[in-house]
């Protein structure tokens, strides 16, 4: 049975037949609870991760990111159990990050049901790690997280160890190098913007989104619908990540997605 498909008369209606921009709530995890730091420092408790994750999935989140900010050796087992619980309850993809420094770390997280992992400082200190992970598990599950800050010289630099240690590497240089090594996505957090709710860092996001052949997830500063509109339309981000505005219900996911649709942005 040969079926002829009408390739020449595809509907070309607005927002049909295209990859959508992703809205990604981020849950920072410490000792099994969700927390959100403001400017990487003070911490407030924001609830049970699995409950929140289920709520976000129901509300139409496109993916979830869990960043374990304790990441001490003793607590790893707690994280693995949490990841396994999340995997049982969540019907959308999720990424786990925080303290990952070896192929074995990733193996355990994937075995417990994580779809992707994000690596940060350990990859910077040992760039071969990205290559090893990509070869072992495929680029599609290796997200490189970069914390970056704009310095007085007008350049964005890579920061390590949760934003506490400045490196001498420019953000764009590290991103290029990591993608060449096999990183499948970049999760870009602007420390200048994180926690401010004054908007994403459009210039560095756009630089990476336009230069790199892999998706860029913009993070840090999203506070209003307009911020998400501009990070997609002006900075060309493939996805936008936010935490506290969702956790504290300042902006709900259905409300945000509806507004983005009205603005002509391709949204699931």
């Amino acid at each position: 049975m040969k079926k002829e498909l009408p390739c020449n008369n595809w509907p070309t209606g607005k927002n049909n037949y295209m990859l959508t921009k992703r809205i990604i709530p981020c849950l920072d995890i410490r000792d099994g609870r969700t927390v959100k730091g403001v400017n990487f420092t003070s911490i407030r408790d924001a609830g049970d991760p699995v409950e929140l994750a289920e709520l976000y999935a129901r509300e139409g989140a496109d993916e979830l990111v869990f960043l374990d900010i304790t990441a001490t050796i003793e607590k790893r087992k707690t994280l693995h159990q949490l990841v396994n619980r999340i995997a049982h309850h969540i019907n959308i993809p999720f990424t786990v990050g925080g303290g990952i420094s070896s192929v074995e770390d990733v193996q355990i997280l994937l075995q417990n049901g994580a779809d992707k992992v994000s690596v940060n400082s350990a990859a910077f200190k040992n760039p071969e790690l990205i290559d090893q992970l990509a070869k072992s598990f495929g680029s599609q599950c290796i997200v490189l997280a970069i914390d970056t800050q704009l310095e007085a010289d007008g350049e964005w630099y890579v920061y390590l160890n949760g934003g506490r240690v400045k490196s001498q590497m420019r953000c764009i240089d590290w991103a290029r190098q990591a993608v060449n090594a096999g990183a499948g996505e970049i999760l870009l957090t602007s420390m200048n913007n994180d926690g401010t709710k004054k908007g994403f860092a459009l210039d560095i996001t756009r630089l990476l989104a336009d230069e790199l052949p892999v998706p860029v997830i913009a993070s840090g500063g999203g506070g209003t619908v307009a911020h998400f509109v501009e990070v997609f339309t002006e900075a060309h981000a493939d996805a936008a990540l936010a935490a506290s505005i969702f956790h504290f219900k300042e902006l709900t996911i259905p409300e945000l997605k509806q507004q983005l649709r009205l603005q002509g942005i391709a949204i699931r």
Binding site: L5, T20, R22, H88, G184, P215
Partner: protein
């Protein structure tokens, strides 16, 4: 009913198992040929690379087990691609259930602000749905895709998606079905497609 998920060197086996569990459907994860042959339904998952996956299957003689199956079989993502005749990914001869070939995505010339990312990662809509597997699924429903290779239109296309150009989002021939997207990660739409497979 015994549902078997074929165990091999692929990445999303747990996700498929958990998705079925959420639907109240138990499943057995195994690479035992007899267990696979005797199952009522078989899911052939897959996230990974084609040549190493085919090599793994051949070494364990699972290739001939899979092609001989008579019961409903669902290949997911790489699983669907391996059911095709050939993949450009490392020049790999595949299982040949579907005559279609798997080709590499090629980015068109970049326009300003229109950098096309490969692989495709994210939610895209499926259309021209034409199969019991798609029972109750609305045209333009969104599914989650992660892939850098794709199957162009062919005789067995039962759903299409569009990324760079339109291509096969799902295939069907006799007892074999395949989805390029991940039903196990595609929220309610994906759960319904898995349920449709269970109901076949």
């Amino acid at each position: 009913m015994e549902l078997v998920i074929i165990q091999y060197n692929a990445g999303n086996i747990q996700s498929v198992l958990y998705a079925l569990e959420r639907m109240g459907q138990s499943a057995v994860v195994t690479d035992n040929p007899d267990r696979i042959r005797n199952a009522d339904k078989v899911i052939f998952p897959g996230v990974g690379e084609a040549s190493s996956a085919m090599q793994y299957l051949r070494e364990r003689k699972l290739d001939s087990v899979i092609t001989s199956l008579q019961q409903p079989v669902l290949g997911i993502c790489l699983g669907m691609q391996l059911l095709c005749s050939y993949s450009e990914e490392n020049d790999t001869t595949c299982l040949g259930i579907f005559s279609e070939r798997v080709v590499k995505m090629q980015a068109p010339a970049a326009k300003a602000g229109q950098q096309i990312k490969i692989p495709q990662i994210g939610w895209n809509n499926i259309t021209q749905l034409d199969s019991p597997l798609m029972e109750g699924i609305a045209e333009n429903s969104y599914c989650y895709f992660v892939h850098g290779y794709y199957v162009p239109f062919g005789a067995h296309t039962i759903a299409t998606a569009d990324y760079i150009q339109p291509y096969s989002a799902a295939l069907h021939k006799n007892n074999f079905y395949g989805t390029q997207f991940h039903p196990e990660k595609s929220a309610e739409t994906g759960a319904r497609i898995l349920q449709n497979f269970i109901n076949l």
